[in-house]
């Protein structure tokens, strides 16, 4: 064990000393530069080296590949621990030996613990499992919904760090797609309780479709990269359901990533990397890359309207994604940028372009291509079913608003995946304003494990809250609960339902129809217990495990 004061130079020195890497190579690595800057931003002051560390993931890759190499690679790694407090080796030795008058305590170590980096004994790809704290959240501007608590034992001192594990590809057992999936599985493994495979195991399960006629030169090991089909195979192998979506539209990318991230799922984003040189009509391509999306930051202010009906979705406020980019490091920033798409192959005007932090003489941008979602099998209803239905309902509501209440604000929607338990916790927190007298009934009602929540706001005030079953059958009515707290919205929805029945409104999609009908005419949902609160009637359809708002009997409302 050795203790050093942290500096970028010391970090490079340690990465060189504890790996098989050459100094000039390690010093010029993108990952090394990224970690130097990142740790400086976290205000790292001290680094503690733990040589001889047995890293489970490296050991599994070692036994699957490196052990059979002619060169004698070591099977143990070195773990570097980072702290934001300054202390020296004697202070740590004193703490470990329990001598009197210690300068350092275990509590202090935990308070200042920033996380660790495992250094692999390899020639180039030396950054192994890395768990570091995130950037500060800056009062909610940055959000990282997929973090896990990682317990660490430092020479007997129990520590922990809230992070999501990262590692760079070793270009043998794993390419970038494997590393991205590995990071994504760190979140789903703990959340959905599946074993987390090592990079070698991911690559092996991904390669079940080899030989692939479309990419005949690909082999499993050494691995040069995975296709979306192969990523889907790897997801199936851990018992999850893969969902692969196109990503050629910025609204689609922002809304989908946000919706699933809030449900604690770290999607894998596939991009094509290009140089961005202003004025060039053909930008140089660097090939395809995959990253695990681990967080986002949002700006305040106006929401960006989407489509001709100007649908307002909160996720349009996303400014940055934070990704585990194995070519950079953990929580690397990718900024949504509005650039002309000339020069990027096959990019439409609505394409989603993200500016990377890759160090280069010019900007390097990622043109979003695909999103790969590792989903628990019970999350059966995809985001787009709810999004499109809400967009339809919103367009109709907006017509009434423009005609009869032009002075009132357009609804801003927030649509995301959550769990029945998290929804209840949120209700418990906000029950005084949200559910009035129905809190107990709502909190004790049975809800599915996964639900879609669509909340509508006017000037940050919640005016409509809808809960839809994410585990249900796509052709059925998914509505579980609705709370509408504005008379004009309730009346509009009843009029819309009448309009649909009278064929004055062309038939909306099935789910939009269910949403409108359920709110307007709860009796359509079957029998149940009726609960009347001071401000609305809520029907608890216990037989169908569904909640409906009773609005047909509202009558006069004191407003």
């Amino acid at each position: 064990m050795t203790v050093f004061p942290f500096s970028p130079e010391i970090l490079v020195r340690l990465l060189v000393d504890y790996s098989e890497g050459a100094e000039d190579h390690i010093a010029s690595k993108r990952q090394s530069s990224f970690l130097q800057e990142y740790l400086q931003e976290l205000k790292a002051a001290t680094v503690v080296c733990e040589p001889g560390y047995i890293d489970r993931d490296f050991l599994r890759d070692f036994s699957a590949y490196y052990v059979t190499c002619f060169y004698n690679y070591a099977r143990t790694t070195t773990r570097l621990h980072f702290f934001s407090a300054s202390f020296d080796q004697s202070a740590l030795v004193s703490l470990l030996s329990g001598t009197e008058g210690q300068e350092l305590s275990a509590e202090e170590l935990q308070d200042h613990y920033l996380g660790f980096v495992v250094v692999r004994p390899l020639p180039e790809t030396v950054i192994g499992r890395t768990c570091l704290r995130t950037y500060p959240t800056e009062e909610g501007r940055r959000t990282f919904p997929v973090l896990q608590q990682y317990p660490v034992n430092l020479f007997g001192i129990p520590l922990s760090v809230l992070s999501l594990a990262f590692q760079e590809q070793d270009r043998v057992a794993a390419a970038c797609a494997t590393s991205a999936l590995w990071s994504s599985f760190q979140a789903t493994g703990r959340y959905f309780h599946h074993p987390i495979p090592s990079p070698t195991e991911i690559t092996r399960s991904a390669a079940v479709s080899l030989p692939d006629q479309e990419v005949p030169n690909t082999r499993a090991f050494p691995n040069a990269g995975l296709s979306a089909t192969q990523m889907a195979n790897a997801i199936l192998a851990v018992g999850l359901e893969p969902q692969v979506l196109g990503a050629s539209n910025a609204h689609l990318v922002k809304s989908t990533l946000y919706a699933y991230l809030k449900g604690h799922i770290a999607p894998v984003l596939g991009v094509s990397l290009y140089n961005h040189i202003v004025g060039e009509t053909s930008q140089k391509s660097h090939g395809r890359h995959a990253v695990a999306v681990t967080g986002y930051s949002m700006r305040g202010g106006e929401v960006e309207p989407y489509g001709y009906n100007k649908f307002l979705l909160r996720s349009s406020r996303l400014t940055n994604l934070y990704v585990h980019d194995d070519q950079l490091g953990p929580f690397a920033r990718m900024r949504f940028v509005d650039l002309p798409t000339i020069g990027f192959d096959g990019a439409s005007s609505e394409a989603c372009i993200l500016l990377t932090n890759w160090p280069a003489d010019h900007d390097i941008v990622g043109l979003a291509r695909i999103m790969v979602l590792p989903l628990y099998n019970k999350i059966r209803i995809p985001f787009h079913i709810v999004h499109d239905a809400i967009m339809e309902v919103d367009a109709l509501l907006n017509l009434f608003r423009q005609k009869f209440f032009p002075e009132s604000l357009q609804l801003e929607w927030d649509i995301y995946l959550t769990t029945g338990s998290e929804f209840k916790t949120d209700v418990l927190k906000t029950k005084s304003t949200h559910t009035s007298g129905n809190a107990v009934e709502l909190l004790t009602a049975g809800l599915p494990r996964f639900v879609w929540r669509a909340s509508a706001y006017q000037a940050e005030e919640l005016v409509m809250d809808l809960l839809l079953d994410a585990t249900g059958v796509i052709q059925s009515n998914l509505m579980l609960f609705a709370k509408v707290s504005l008379a004009e919205i309730k009346a509009s929805i009843i009029a819309i339902a009448n309009g649909i029945a009278g064929k004055h409104i062309p038939g909306p999609s099935q789910q939009a129809m269910y949403i409108i009908r359920t709110i307007a005419n709860p009796s359509a949902g079957g029998g149940g217990e009726l609960h009347q609160s001071s401000n609305c009637l809520i029907k608890l359809a216990q037989c169908a495990r569904r909640w409906h708002v009773e609005v047909s009997k509202v009558g006069f409302v004191r407003i």
Binding site: C176, N249, F556
Partner: protein, 62 residues
């Protein structure tokens, strides 16, 4: 129920006003225009969501 411009509103009257407008020619026209705009937006999103076979097989190699 939240107040609407600080007045008492008869919801039934409101609904009946909405129904009258909805069945009028002007209302019908606006509904049709809005529906076709929504249809266009959904169509564009569905196109963006669809994954081409080429995308499924293109290896991610960087």
């Amino acid at each position: 129920m939240k107040p609407l411009n600080g007045k008492t509103v008869d919801t039934e009257t409101l609904i009946s006003q909405f129904n009258i407008w909805l069945s009028s020619e002007a209302g019908q026209e606006q509904v049709r225009a809005s529906s076709s705009k929504t249809e266009l937006a959904v169509k564009a999103l569905n196109k963006a969501r669809a994954v081409e076979a080429r995308e499924m097989h293109e290896p991610v190699t960087v």
